[in-house]
Symmetry: C2
Subunit: 881 residues, 2 copies
């Protein structure tokens, strides 16, 4: 065995570095005993030698000649001479396939003499000369870059001149064709078409080597970080002909159904044809199943080979084969591409068939597939037939159609009349929640992937497109202009939350349901994961959704989301605008009753699973109307002077609300609110514990702490309140008090904070905002440019910034756990459901992630994958230590 | 020598722990050979013993009696008997003086017998019985808490009954007084006034010991972190009487003038009086200088003692003395309190007199003094005679009076008419700069210590009060209401920037100038400091101010401050609202010409001192008018459609401008601005270098970087631009490119950023905002509550948060310097001029601080103090290692 060339029987699939992907695979199939046309591989080592020395060495040339001689002996054919001439294909094949490389030359070995021998041997003049014509054309195209239209035009001209089709050509006609082809070749290549078949072969090999350094390949390698010095291999293989006879043909086959995963052969077969004929689509192939009747022996053989290949590769295979004169030849096998649904089904079935292990099954499923499986999508052909009128950021996946409304109120009114609506606004605010809930989809012209609209929509699993700058929305006039038209209230549109595109009219969708198989797989995932997964939810509907999707509890229930029902909002406004303690007490009494009901509803679904409830977080002015007229109306409603109310609203307004009076700061300035909330939580927990005969352990979370003193103060407030509630009820119940870690300072002083906390939960949205100094509401003005110019690898609100924010989280989690061994640590920001982020978080001393209910399945999968990969790396590191 | 009692000759000033402050000092003076009335100290050890055992031990009682016998021998008097009875004072004296402790009992040793002996010996019946009366009264008051009004009322009643004043009392009258006093004593104390003089002494000593644990003392110790177990000493000292004869008297004297520091005795003397008589103010004392004529020998002796004390204590002393019958006794000496001006003068003079070293001189000056010296203040009596109508936060020190205006335009107009104005607004914005510049003082009703108004005012050295919530300002109606009245345009008010108070009318001020002595001291400070001090300034006036005040360069020149002249503002607005590249280019061409002029003016003053110029930092919308009417007018001015301009303004508006499109992000989205600025800087540097025959090295600072990629990109933009300018000018000039470190992420990745930076400058304002998540503009809503409730030790925008922000700065400076040994590191935020912050920064690998020109002198002092203290701690640590 030389290292410059390998017979197929000498290589295997692990030698991709030396043999290239295609060559290694041909070797592997050969060794499996499959009927692969014989041949040999010229290695990447030979290529690298050529790229250095710019010449094919005599040593290599001799080896190639020896290999050809062996091939002659194996096939009982002779190369360039004799009555049974050997024809071969020459193909490139690098370790990674890349565009721009010289591809394929077929029928090499034909010249003016051998073509006649082939014609005689096959008794098929037409076949032999068609092969010869193709060789000259391909050789010219691939090696000398001669445009094949020159050849095709000449061929058509000759057919016209002759007055009959090529099928009726006689030898003289073919000699005319070949003569014309040679002229074209010589004129464009500057040399004659080589009649010496070794010249043909060596020129072709050299051309493959040279093509490693063509421009397209170079650019591709740079883009994909493929090393420049790998080089390519060359595969030389005996030709087989699917177009040789009536019992010849060619096919492409998947060992299972790549669309839905069913365990049956799937593919197409075209008789009397070569591979190109299937690809070109000139003739319509038959389903592979038809072969069972037509060529039963071949079908049987294919079935056996499929099983053999799956057993060997442990995955569904995509194979190419040719039948030459009733004999089957395998030309290619590789892991088959498949739809998300098929991927899940196949992985699960292979596991059930005991062909792969649990961890292998898990690693077969890509995170993105889950998201795809769980949301409806527009049908592919519908998308192909429609042009989007606008495109924004795909904030929440799914597909939906409905009539446009421009306000949350209109959304509510229209849906009460039984309409399906799409809410279209410049941006949304917490006041719009009800309208958002009833909408099929939400579009905003401003805002980024983590704007209010995006976050809320993902939380609800509602299709959403944000930052859709193509639409110029005038909410007052209820019109949205776009390049080429305008959208008015009531217009029917379709929204693709996966692509961010907006279409006129209603496109048909394809809804997918989470399958039982997926559920089984995710349960197995949970066994392998280290991180637990919780859901971010507060309504009974969302909590139920999260639990159904496999969340082990609730990581973030946002109590402010409970304040937007009209009666509550009014009470909240009364509280904010109160002039004295009595007014505050009255408003809080009402709100407490409502909140207690909310928490009871929550615990009725959640039962004794863990659930973290965050105390009020947003700035108070978010609860007031921003419009002057509405403020006036509010003043009248609650019986206050309009000017005074306007003054208070102005006093509450903030230049940078993100950095203002919110979170635990509310407890410092107006402790009654947290007091009321803790009472409501504890009373609800007591009531449901009794009613359901369970033991609920409330987890009360204080948001936005940044100093040890404020944490201690807020904790004391909670403890005092909870103690009083328990004493009044004469009952004992455990509860936990923790804090959301959302600002850099909290991360820095985490060790001190941990001493006063039962748990930490990282709020990565705010932490990212503060670490970078990016406002989620404003960053859309520059983040796209940052991403375009590669100044940021990702939108850090979507994918955790491991270098900056991640360093703070690591520091805080590590120091927090060191200071308090009992400390539970979670991550409940948007990135808690994102694959790359979870991979990183899995390496930290963190106990769980929490995300929107719709992202829970994906998160469960990634938690398992991350941990499996981490352990295998540990093992690897250990083995190599 | 026992450890329970010390004769004055046995102790010294270093034994404060054992002898208390007062006792240690009496010992020290005794050992200096000064005429101190003899006595002894009962130590804190005895006190601690008593506090444990609750009884005076026989051992202690015996020691006290022995000490008294020694005292009898020294004074040739006898205690409680004889013709020349020994009278003593009993005083408490802990290590730290504290309120609530039992204070003083005089004349102890008098009883019904000895009082007659004293009367006989002094031939002064009145004197003797006055002393006795006082003893009973003080003993009753101090030991048994008998209200002295009982004694005083009885005394007055007797005077009335007798019908003549006490001066005319005969023995029978005095016996009546004493009998009445004894009755009162017995009735209230539940025991007779002790006639045994040792009983008097031991009861008094026990009372002093007990008073260690009274409530006021305990609270005081808790508040001031004084250990509970120190205990107090007791001083027992022979009485001397300033009220004994015509050549008797008492005085209080400073060895130098404590108001202005002049090196001459300063103080007061009252003849025929005791210390209390001076303190009570019943009689007016004479200036100490009068003694020179009256009692020349005593005056001479005092002069010599003053010199001796200053030589010994190396500081100006505040002494108390008594002259008894022509003989001088020293009762007390301590370092004298003094005005800032005197402090500076005295420290400097003591250094010149070679009594103290350079570092001793520096450590004598407190940072706050400098600020006081450099700003005018209202006269003390003026303040005493006026009541403030409102109080806000003292944002920038000084005192000013003027007529109220409510807009920057009005300020400009009024000052052009020769008026002095106070600008009163809810808050200020960059548009108000011109109006702020011409105002005597600025008041805002909103905003905190680092609001726009506060920062700009401090930068200009203009008196400023912010967050003055007592004033309800209506800028439209031009009225400000306060509790009790209203202020209208044109009303004359006075503003105290040091206290934050506002007064009606014009109060007289006292202007102080920085003295030559202070300049000399600060120059000496520079020799001892490790950190250099630069100024934050951009106008020639401010730069000159900074240099005059001793800045070694400019640490922060904010280029956006240069954009607010009308023509420039218009061009800036044209740039922001441009529809195409031509409009951008036109606007930039104009602005560049202006900026180049600015930078030339800047370098003309700065010359080749280092100067860091920050490229444009604020969000673009800050340059647009916020008012709709003004926007419309602007559109007309620059010939654009009003609706389009309104749309653009709306698109630029931000929810959280602090976290929006600003700093280096501008360079990413609109690189032309930085390009223009770098051209202007480089061209100006070239022009001034040539004109002045110097070599300017521009320091160009990129604000707000948070990723390595944006730093690299912005740096390349600057380098390319600078290279082109230099090539065009055919000149070579060094320049430096650095970045402002303002967000937590920059701190975390500082090592990577440092590789691409010549310098770092920490922007502590923004860094603090982001680390805590506090908006400078909004935090005034909760920071006061945080400070009240001790949830924060200081306002972190005024005093660096060493634990949080400081940790980030330490990390970044350390890692930055490790990655790039050449890296220069500075701090240019508000805290760069604040004492506690500088102390911390001095411990980090930082090269300079930079602050408002007016704070430069103070910063120079603190830099020296910090380094001197650090080195002495190092030495200490080293010595003890």
């Amino acid at each position: 065995m030389s290292e410059l060339t390998y017979a197929f029987s000498e290589g295997n699939k692990d030698l991709r570095e030396v043999l290239g992907g295609k060559g290694a695979n041909l070797c592997e199939m050969t060794n499996l005993g499959l009927p692969v046309p014989q041949g040999f591989v010229i290695s990447t080592i030979a290529c690298r030698q050529y790229l250095t020395e710019n010449i094919l060495t005599d040593h290599l040339i001799n080896e190639i000649k020896n290999r050809v001689q062996t091939l002659e002996a194996q096939t009982e054919k002779t190369f360039g001479t004799g009555t049974n001439p050997l024809l071969v294909s020459v193909r490139s094949g690098a370790k990674f396939s890349m565009p721009g490389m010289m591809d394929t030359i077929l029928n090499l070995g034909l010249n003016d003499d051998t073509v006649q021998a082939v014609a005689a041997k096959t008794q098929n003049l037409n076949f032999a000369y068609q092969c010869y014509r193709r060789l000259i054309q391909m050789f010219g195209d691939v090696v000398f870059e001669i445009d094949i239209k020159h050849f095709n035009q000449a061929f058509e001209t000759l057919e016209t001149e002759k007055g009959y089709p090529a099928a009726d050509f006689q030898k003289a006609d073919w000699l005319d064709v070949i003569a014309r082809y040679k002229e074209i070749f010589a004129a464009n290549a500057g040399q004659d078409f080589p009649q010496n078949v070794y010249d043909q072969m060596l020129i072709a090999v050299e051309a493959v080597f040279k093509s490693w350094n063509n421009d397209r390949a170079k650019v591709y390698r740079q883009l994909h970080n493929i090393p420049e010095d790998l080089g390519t291999a060359v595969n030389i293989q005996r030709m087989v002909f699917g177009n040789y006879s009536e019992t010849s043909g060619t096919g492409v086959m998947f060992t299972r159904n790549p669309v839905n995963g069913t365990a049956a052969l799937f593919g197409e077969y075209l008789s009397k044809a070569q591979g190109e004929d299937i690809v070109s689509g000139a003739r319509t192939p038959d389903p592979i199943a038809d072969l069972e009747a037509k060529l039963p022996a071949i079908y049987q053989q294919l079935t056996e080979i499929a099983t053999k290949l799956e057993n060997h590769y442990k995955d569904m295979q995509d194979v190419e084969f040719t039948v030459e004169d009733g004999k089957l030849f395998m030309l290619q096998t590789r892991n088959g591409k498949r739809t998300p649904k098929a991927a899940v089904t196949i992985a699960y079935d292979l596991f059930q068939e005991k062909r792969i292990s649990e961890t292998e099954m898990i690693l077969r499923i890509e995170p993105g597939m889950i998201d795809h499986l769980l949301h409806p999508n527009f049908q592919e052909d519908e998308l192909a037939n429609h042009t989007a009128i606008a495109k924004g950021l795909p904030a929440s996946p799914g597909a939906a159609a409905g009539q446009i409304v421009f306000t949350a109120e209109d959304a509510k009114a229209a849906t009460q009349n039984g309409k399906k609506v799409i809410l279209l606004r410049n941006e949304t605010s917490p006041e719009d929640i009800v309208g958002m809930t009833v909408s099929e989809a939400i579009i905003t012209s401003h805002g980024g992937m983590t704007s209010h609209a995006a976050v809320v929509a993902r939380g609800m699993g509602t299709c959403c497109v944000v930052g859709c700058q193509d639409l110029h929305v005038d909410e007052d006039q209820k019109v949205a202009k776009y390049n080429g038209g305008a959208l008015y209230e009531g217009d029917l549109i379709s929204v693709d939350g996966t692509s961010g595109k907006i279409y006129l009219g209603q496109l048909a969708t394809t809804a997918e349901e989470i399958s039982e198989k997926l559920n089984d797989i995710l349960d197995i995932c949970d066994k392998h994961a280290r991180l637990m997964v919780r859901g971010n939810a507060e309504t009974p509907k969302d909590i139920r959704e999260a639990i159904t999707k496999g969340a082990q509890g609730i990581g973030l229930a946002r109590t402010e989301h409970m304040f937007f029902k009209p009666a509550r909002l009014k009470a909240m406004r009364q509280l904010i605008l109160a002039d004295n303690d009595d007014e505050i007490t009255d408003a809080l009494r009402f709100i407490k009753g409502e909140q207690k009901g909310d928490f009871e509803d929550m615990y009725d679904v959640l039962l004794d699973r863990p659930g973290t409830i965050r105390l009020l977080d947003p700035p108070l002015h978010e609860f007031l109307p921003s419009d002057k007229g509405e403020l006036k109306q509010l003043a009248a409603e609650i019986g206050k002077d309009a000017a005074t109310v306007a003054d208070k609203a102005r006093a509450l307004a903030e230049v940078n609300p993100m950095l203002g009076l919110r979170g635990v700061r509310l407890a410092v300035v107006l402790p009654q609110i947290y007091q009321m909330q803790v009472e409501a939580i504890m009373e609800a927990a007591i009531a449901v514990s009794k009613r359901k005969h369970i033991t609920i352990t409330p987890e009360i979370m204080i948001p936005l702490t940044g100093t040890v003193e404020e944490m201690a103060m807020a904790k004391q407030l909670c403890v005092d309140t909870a103690t009083k509630v328990l004493a009044d009820a004469n009952i004992s119940l455990n509860y936990e008090i923790g804090t959301m870690i959302e600002n850099p300072r909290a991360c820095i002083i985490a060790d001190a904070l941990a001493k006063d906390a039962d748990f930490f939960s990282f709020g990565t949205n705010d932490l990212t905002q503060l670490t970078y100094g990016y406002s989620r509401d404003d960053a859309h003005k520059f983040l796209p440019t940052y991403l375009d110019k590669h100044l940021l690898p990702h939108d850090p609100f979507q994918v955790l910034d491991t270098q900056g924010v991640g360093t703070l989280i690591k520091m805080a989690a590590t120091n927090g756990k060191a200071a308090n061994k009992q400390l539970k640590v979670g991550v409940c920001g948007e990135v808690g459901g994102e694959p790359r982020s979870i991979r990183f978080l899995n390496t930290l001393p963190i106990d769980y992630v929490s995300c929107s209910p719709y992202r829970v399945p994906q998160a469960r999968l990634i938690c398992a994958i991350s941990e499996i990969e981490r352990q295998s790396q540990d093992t690897y590191a250990h083995t190599n230590a």
